[in-house]
Amino acid sequence: MTEPNLRIRGLTKSFGGVRALDGVDLTVPGGRVHALLGHNGAGKSTLIRCLGGAFPPDAGTIEVGGTSHTRLSPRESIAAGVAIIFQTLSVVDSLTVAENIFLGQEWTRYGRIDRRAQEEVAAGLLERVAATCSPRDRVSELPMGQRQLVEIAKALSRSASVLVLDEPTAALSGTESEALAERVEDLRTQGLAIVYVTHLLGEVERLADEVTVLRDGRVSHHARMTGQSRRDLVEAITGRTSKGRGAYHGAAPPRGHDQPPPTPRPRPNRLTLDALQGPRFGPVDLTVAEGEIVALYGLIGSGRTSLLETIYGRHPATAGNLHVGTRTVRPSRPSDALAARIALVPGDRRAQALFPVLSAQDNALLPSIRRMARLSIRSTRAERRVFGTLSDAVALRPARPDLPAAAFSGGNQQKLVLGRWINEAREVDVLLLDEPTQGVDIGARQEIYGVVRTLAAERGTAVLFASNDPEEVVALAHRCLIVRAGRVAGELSGPELTEAALLSAVHEGAA
Amino acid sequence: MSRSPYALDSTPSRRRFLAWSAGAVATGAIGVAGCSAPGGASTAEAAGTPSAKAGDLRQIGLDYPFTQLPLYATLVKLSTAAAKKHGVSLLTTSDASSADTQATNLTTWVTRKIPAIVSFPMVFEATEATAKRALDAGLIWVTYGGSLEHQSADIQFSFLEGGRLLGEAAAKWAEETLGGKGKIAFLTDSTIQLGRERTKGMVDAFTKAAPGVDVVAQEQAIDPDTGLSKTKAILAKHPDLNLVLGVTDAAAYGGFKALQQTGRKATDAKTFVGGQDGAAPSLLAIQQGTFYRASAALAPQDIANAIVDVPLAVAAGKANPGVQVPITLVGPTDTARIDALLAQNS
């Protein structure tokens, strides 16, 4: 195999002045698995999306099977032999397995879809990926692991020579993950070039022939896997030697100044979960003290989100108790939780939090305008004033109350959502945050951390947040609970709370 | 949805129009016994086919598709009573003014061999095949409101004649009251055959008999709402409008209200409104001596009698069993007839 299947050279891409990719090289020959590692926002997804044709790179070349491209459309990408299996699969639930595999490239006979031929070929492809489903099954009835295999079979049907797997095990069970690992090994023997994106070092150790680590849009590490230790990789990912909390590469101010000192104990507990159980988690016991910031660290699907949403009343708790201060509360809907002074900033901003066409002011204040109203008439003056104070407090940019939320950056949208619960008209005792900085740029991320820290320090708000980003956990939390399969599997605090410790803690169970 | 999708649609859909014209048909007077049969092909097949004798006919199916019309309820009630006198039971369909539903229901009846079917086809051409199947199955088929190639007999109405009666009466009034001068607006319908016939009868008769009267507008309108807004618009341009003639009583009633709302007294001597159908609100207005002065009317009782008598006549093997339902003009002096019509409608 002289010519590598995939060769990326000097790939560069900026978004509004922020370099997401900066001269990245990546070479993957056929029959090799190349692991791609890095923090959220390190540039992995930008790289994948350039490869898939989602947007054109500013500079650099993408060479697939010997043909060089400076930019690709999604169609050209597929035609060149690139197949990307995203975390959120692109199979169509309402169609059968065979229909999905041949979607957009249907086999026809006399102008009609030749079902029989499609199903025969599909059966062969499914066998190649060792899927147990039948070509005639509806995708909606299949478990996640099988759906993923269907998508891989679809890639094979298009004679892909480069297969990109984006955190493929994030939504899979342990046995499904194991089965997938075997498939990846098979496909490697069949000569595909595989790019494997993951957070899980165990998977890297098991599957990868080579590894590339991205940090801040650059390749921070590239090596053959032989002789790599887990420690080398962690250092490459975090960009520092594993000595505990360190400054996040030069840009941010030294952590010591804005990091609150470890909370002196004992302080009264604001939030107490007493063997709480709900969908996909529990029983969970935990406490968050007044002014304390506690992280729930775990992989996607570990039950973090479900736990937070249950505390907030979006799902009913099936057992256990929930106390705010000394009161027992049993929220059956979000408004109950709010009445108990518990608020949630949801994880999926677009689907669960934002009103894109409504103004910034509406986005921040809608839940509270009734409180500001007099005799059921809105007090526009009070609204303006509260919004003004709020936008200063969270450093909203631009600070324009009338601009629709859609016109703001992700970070500023998140400030609006966060602002709902921390303004003059509405204060809460317990603040729940689910992936507080997902899709938020570095600068706004630091600002949001600042707001949360101030809130805890000055108002004594108990903060409980979920994250799968070790860096974020170390930067923000006083204490971290490791969540695995819906249970608290461990706790890290003080000097133990390091990115390395988090990475190895989570991989123990999953890899 | 066959309804016109935009607002204030003044041109009613075909369906609604049909619904209306069916209403018109309803009101007619029918001299069942005395009527001469419409000659020719329509009755030619009648003689040979009937398999049931008059005494054996126990069921008549009435398929009147415009269930949203007041006439539907009236006809069902009156013809059920008429049938009962002959020991016949009456079945009905619920077509809800849908030609597709009508076709389905008729097919069901033919399959179930309902011995006599009286049907008002929404689309005549589309019903031919069903009628033929009914005849082939030895059933009696009576066409209502027109004639088909395959039928045992028919019940007909002259729409042209109704329009002509109204037009002539209005022209006569214009000559006598206005000295042959003035302004008239017609509320017309041009969407289907029945409407065009009524319109033509009304407009031609009037313009021929009162050539000195200015025709200031001919506007599509069959329901009161449209009649009201169209007449208001016409009045904005011609406040001195004298006559409004409607292709339906409903539309004319809207015109009647528009004139009153622009300040015309209900008894104004120099105003004439007239319509066709013999609808109750119009009959009441005529009875009260308002400037709503005429309606070309059919009597529901006569139609109901025909619905029962024509199939019985076919079954008995009578020659020329079909009937033509005559239309008469009702004016303020016809108090007895108005009372009779209102009684039939209640």
Binding site: F355, D362, L366 | D225, A236, P239, T262, P281
Partner: protein
């Protein structure tokens, strides 16, 4: 969010009335053309006619617009209008009740229809399209069953509703003006008015913000039912008659057209009462002007269709309004 809408969003806040409501320009052109060609379009008498015609449309269009903004839809208003008119006419005519009782009776019936719609759509979560389409047929059937024959002769007292003048303005127009002001005030000045937008834009986010996402749309279903019945009573009063089978037939699409032309997005979350007023006036003027011009029926149909598509295209080019 597409780049187009984002770009529109960026320019928000610096918009003139015409840019925010392109239909305003279309309406102005339409009025100008009709005035020049007919010479009598802008006569007081004609404008009065347009206003009374548009009044019933506006009375239903405003609450329906609010309902659409909150992400729902009511197709049953045509039948509710018929039932309301019949009940009011029956009470005033055959039962010799006072006009007030007659109107209140109609409103109660409208509220009941709206409540059924609201429970099924908001609390049981059924599709508003299907539910209200079903109710369109069911309520029409009910009206015909209860009132198989046309009603007329409702008496002088009842004629007051449609025929009297208050300070020189026809009563239906006064009522419509009150409804328009109430609708606009609700959206602008009350917390619930803002919540309606939030629910329409993102129901899940509104729920997670602690907003009661069922109560407001339910109330709007009831109000829409009441408004349709009120419009029916007004029409019955103006015409002094009501027919179960044909009153308000097709009205649901007329009123929905006015709402959509007025810039209310069928997907919810955007629209304004002023836009709805423009939509209503556009339809009223178009119909009236074409009649004044004595345009033959089929040409009128074509002209109306073309004007409608043109109006919709212009409304599409405008920004989404959320106040």
């Amino acid at each position: 969010m597409t780049t187009l809408t984002a770009a529109r969003a960026m320019s928000y806040g610096r918009l003139t009335a015409v840019r925010r409501h392109p239909l305003l320009a279309v309406l102005a052109v339409l009025v100008l053309v009709f005035q020049v060609t007919t010479g009598s379009f802008l006569d007081a008498g004609n404008l009065r006619g347009i206003a009374t015609d548009a009044a019933t449309l506006a009375i239903v269009a405003v609450p329906l617009a609010l309902l659409v903004i909150s992400g729902y839809l009511d197709l049953s208003v045509g039948s509710t209008l018929a039932l309301g008119g019949l009940v009011a006419g029956w009470l005033a005519g055959e039962q010799h009740q006072s006009p007030v009782v007659a109107v209140l009776g109609a409103l109660a019936v409208g509220a009941a229809v709206g409540a059924v719609n609201g429970v099924l759509c908001c609390y049981l979560g059924l599709s508003a399209f299907i539910v209200t389409l079903g109710m369109l047929t069911a309520v029409r059937g009910l009206a015909q069953q209860v009132f198989p024959l046309p009603l007329s002769g409702f008496g002088a007292g009842f004629a007051w509703l449609g025929g009297s003048r208050i300070a020189g303005v026809d009563a239906p127009v006064v009522i419509a003006a009150l409804v328009l002001v109430a609708g606009a005030s609700f959206l602008a000045f009350t917390p619930a008015g803002r919540h309606v937008f939030a629910i329409g834009v993102n129901r899940e986010a509104a729920h997670l913000s602690g907003i009661a996402v069922r109560r407001a749309p339910f109330a709007l279903f009831v109000v829409t039912g009441v408004a349709a019945a009120l419009a029916g009573a007004i029409k019955a009063s103006v015409l002094d008659s009501a027919v179960a089978g044909t009153s308000g037939a097709g009205f649901e699409l007329t009123v929905l057209t006015a709402v959509l032309l007025g810039g209310v997005a069928l997907s919810g979350g955007s629209g304004s009462v002023f836009g709805v007023l423009l939509g209503v006036l556009f339809l009223g003027s178009l119909q009236n002007g074409l009649t004044l011009l004595n345009v033959p029926a089929f040409w009128q149909q074509m002209a109306q269709g073309v004007a409608l598509v043109a109006g919709a295209a212009l409304a599409f080019l405008g920004p989404r309004t959320t106040r």
